[in-house]
Subunit: 105 residues, 4 copies
């Protein structure tokens, strides 16, 4: 996935709509948390088994995918305005997690 | 960013800790929403200007980056268990957004 | 506010719709977090000043009120199924907060 | 529950700490959503049955109660700064819900 290219496209999208003034880190994070809840909403009344089965139903998975994308689009924009290297952040956190949670023997 | 390689690493990480039984889509989404709120927490009392300035303070941006990574790690795992192609989902949503929100002339 | 009477009404409402089986604490908390985000949504792009001014616009405050009520209705139901005394919980937390955050002199 | 008395106590608490300038509706809603996620966190990895059983374990229910109270304390403060009558809002929403979701026959 070419993150810088996606982020450039998003910057152009935002500029063409004159939305940049709304895109403070604070607002992007709030908007992302709202999209996250729209993702949660699809699962709120499901049993664990139903939540597993949902991925097999194309029409439902499709809706979930869109919510996942909404979260990620704000994440890419947040990273962009904050100058965060997403890939480096992920790799670093995986190393920290491996230390924090040693594997069971 | 090589998503399939990251997802394979995460699968191995989860298997080594015997956590897969907890990783239903429902639980992953819940856990992701909790990490999202930890990201929100860094910004809750800031003015818009302070939220912009935060990215300039390395120690603070570092903490924010870690919360961003936590959200993304669960997102990668959710995509993996649901067989969602993240890149395709993002590209598709960008097209839908361009239709939903036509640019200002 | 007569909480036990409200909770009895909600129990009757849920029973009449055969929803009790969905109302595990886990699901109620998830659903409440979704309603919370609908409350957040009203404020996501506002400046601090606009968020203060919103309360003066009846039509907007009305919508915010409804989201607040949605969160509270799930909270009353969660307290009911978990046998939590909301008023006691609030009073106890206020005492803990007073110790945790001593007033500035 | 005497809401106006609680809200007066919270106003005094906030004034004594010089926090009122942080308490815009936008910030209160953000902070409330963070407390909500701390409530969610207690349930994220539980099965439905474990989430029901949690209420029987005093030490665990005690922690959940505290998170519930944290959400409610911000809700009381939001209602206060926005001049929302919480009880009226709840009663009105219950009527709207009864119309929106007619009982099963």
């Amino acid at each position: 996935m070419d993150l810088p290219a996606l982020q450039q496209q998003l910057r152009d999208f935002v500029a063409a709509r004159d939305w940049a003034r709304y895109h403070t880190p604070k607002n992007l994070v709030m908007a992302m948390s709202v999209e996250m809840a729209e993702l949660v909403e699809h699962f709120q009344w499901l049993t664990p088994e139903e939540s597993v089965a949902l991925a097999q139903v194309d029409a439902k998975r499709d809706l979930v995918e869109q919510e996942m994308a909404d979260v990620l689009l704000y994440m890419l924009q947040l990273a962009d305005v904050m100058n965060v290297d997403i890939e480096a952040a992920i790799l670093r956190k995986m190393k920290l997690n491996a230390i924090k949670h040693p594997p069971k023997v």
